[in-house]
């Protein structure tokens, strides 16, 4: 027979779950993970660009969430709070590792399936394939950019933060954000063109 907490957990909404977890219920926390894991994982995948790294980051996000549960104010949205943890972890991690690994061509996942699924569904099949191919190119090109440009493009275009928010997150000036985005957009287009050229050179 399940414990009383167990029953409560099964019936609970996420705000109740947070409250139970804050009181120390591991069952409640596990249920929270299950409820939010896809959202957090997707977000981490977008930030890190591949499956393994997304998994590491997502795990760390939940561990940190567990350890800081007490500081979570319940009027806030739990999902938003988790996103914030993920973003901070990602940025801090990169900041710390910047000096050690300056990799211009950090590989990200091939993005093929990812892009295929994303392609909008209301278009015709041909358009859908073209769109999917384009998304795949963009995703690959993004992975070829150096960190500083990849970061601002992810934050601006994928996550839709404002210039000001990005400056705050990355602890740099507004001017830097502006110029990095401007250059980042040029570079990603150049990478896309390079990739397209490379594709044409490979005989089908």
């Amino acid at each position: 027979m399940p414990s009383l907490t167990g029953v409560l957990v099964l019936l609970a909404e996420s705000s109740d779950l947070v409250r139970l977890a804050q009181k120390g219920s591991l069952t409640a926390f596990e249920k929270l993970i299950e409820d939010y894991q896809n959202r957090v994982f997707s977000y981490c995948y977008q930030l890190t660009g591949n499956h393994d790294n997304a998994q590491d980051l997502a795990q760390d996000v939940f561990i940190q969430a567990y350890n800081s549960l007490k500081s979570f104010r319940r009027e806030a949205d739990f999902g938003t709070w988790l996103r914030r943890i993920a973003l901070n972890k990602w940025i801090n991690h990169q900041r710390k590792n910047k000096l050690i690994t300056i990799s211009l061509n950090e590989p990200v996942g091939s993005g093929k399936e990812f892009a295929r699924e994303v392609a909008a569904s209301e278009e015709s099949p041909v358009e859908k394939i073209e769109q999917a191919e384009f998304l795949e190119l963009v995703w690959k090109a993004l992975g070829r950019l150096s960190l500083e440009f990849r970061q601002v493009l992810i934050l601006r275009d994928m996550e839709e933060y404002s210039y000001e928010e990005i400056a705050g997150l990355l602890e740099c000036s507004l001017g830097t954000v502006k110029s990095r985005l401007n250059r980042g957009r040029k570079y990603i287009r150049a990478e896309i063109e390079t990739l397209q050229r490379e594709l044409r050179e490979i005989p089908e």
Partner: protein, 332 residues
């Protein structure tokens, strides 16, 4: 005055984001009307931005077993914390001593060059902690024996040492904080961290010429040579140089360097940091979990400091143990 294509190229991006001042926006729109090239450019930028935005909305499913992996880590942390706290104070002392050692190897100052050969040994022995066991799995040839008094200590304490079970992230499902393909601190327990420094003293016909020769040899191995300064020993000029080369190339570079002159003396120092690395890593993990739990801002700031230090140290050791430092004395 309107904008030309070059100016336009600079403001297309903020324009797209609605971050352009109204006046600039008006000028740009004016320019775009008469300039198909810039309009096309804007369309392209917009298309890529739209693609990124779509990629940003995609939901993907977390891998099977995700939540149990997280719960396992949480339970592991809980179970491990009591032991680790107890162990922490002992480790801290040993770690502090090792910090000195690593700093000593990394930054040999010119004025210290005369004592450089002894320096790591002294620091090593002063750092030999009471916890001081040798890694029983040690595979390194402990033959040259110039350094590391630790190696002679029997390691009976090893089994009772709570730090000996510090294998972390053995299960690939239990992430190790590796978010990017770039390195992150992880410790699998099976890697050795041994810092090797080789000291070569040559008698050469012309020290400046020998220096140049050494520099070009280093270059052949894709590494640079750093001048540590010069010293006058017995009224003779002596140049001191440092080369840091990957461990795999060290031996063959050392052999090539023999051509510089007459080898007067050669000395190799080894410091095995495997044990300490593990201990500091343990401390690092404990600090991180403490940091995550604390509500107190002062304490948090202190912990951040400590975490940062530990992390820098671990990285430094990783770096140093994958390389070998060669110090050259070129005496005329």
């Amino acid at each position: 005055m309107g904008v030309n294509c070059i100016d336009a190229g600079e403001i297309l991006s903020p324009f797209l984001d609605g971050e352009l001042a109204r006046e600039d926006e008006r000028k740009l729109l004016e320019h775009l009307e008469g300039c198909p090239a810039c309009s096309r450019e804007l369309d392209e930028i917009r298309r890529v931005a739209a693609a990124l935005s779509m990629l940003g909305q995609k939901q993907i499913t977390a891998p099977a077993g995700f939540s149990s992996a997280v719960m396992a880590r949480i339970n592991e942390d809980k179970a491990g914390s009591t032991n680790k706290y107890r162990h922490l104070k002992q480790v801290a002392m040993g770690a502090a001593a090792v910090l000195l050692l690593a700093a000593g190897v990394a930054t040999i100052k010119p004025e210290l060059a005369g004592q450089v050969a002894q320096a790591p040994v002294q620091m090593e022995s002063s750092g030999a902690p009471q916890t001081g066991a040798v890694n029983p799995d040690q595979k390194s040839p402990a033959s040259e024996s110039t350094g590391t008094p630790d190696q002679q200590n029997p390691s009976s304490a090893e089994n009772s040492d709570p730090s000996s079970d510090k294998i972390v992230a053995e299960n690939p499902n239990q992430g190790s904080g590796l978010y990017s393909a770039s390195g992150s601190i992880e410790f699998t327990g099976d890697k050795e961290y041994i810092i090797v420094s080789t000291f070569l003293k040559f008698k050469v016909a012309d020290s400046a010429e020998a220096e140049e020769q050494a520099r070009s040899l280093a270059r052949e191995y894709g590494v640079s040579m750093q001048s540590l300064g010069q010293q006058t020993i017995d009224g003779k000029q002596c140049l001191v140089e440092k080369i840091v080369v990957s461990s795999s190339n060290a031996q063959s570079l050392t052999a090539s360097l023999r051509a510089l002159g007459t080898l007067v003396s050669q000395d190799e120092q080894k410091a095995d940091l495997t044990q300490r690395y593990g201990e500091l890593y343990d401390k690092y993990i404990t600090l991180k979990s403490e940091r995550a739990q604390t509500q107190d801002t002062t304490q948090a700031a202190q912990l951040d400091q400590q975490i940062k230090k530990a992390e820098e140290q671990l990285r430094a050791w990783e770096q140093q143990s994958s390389n070998q430092t060669i110090v050259l004395w070129l005496q005329q």
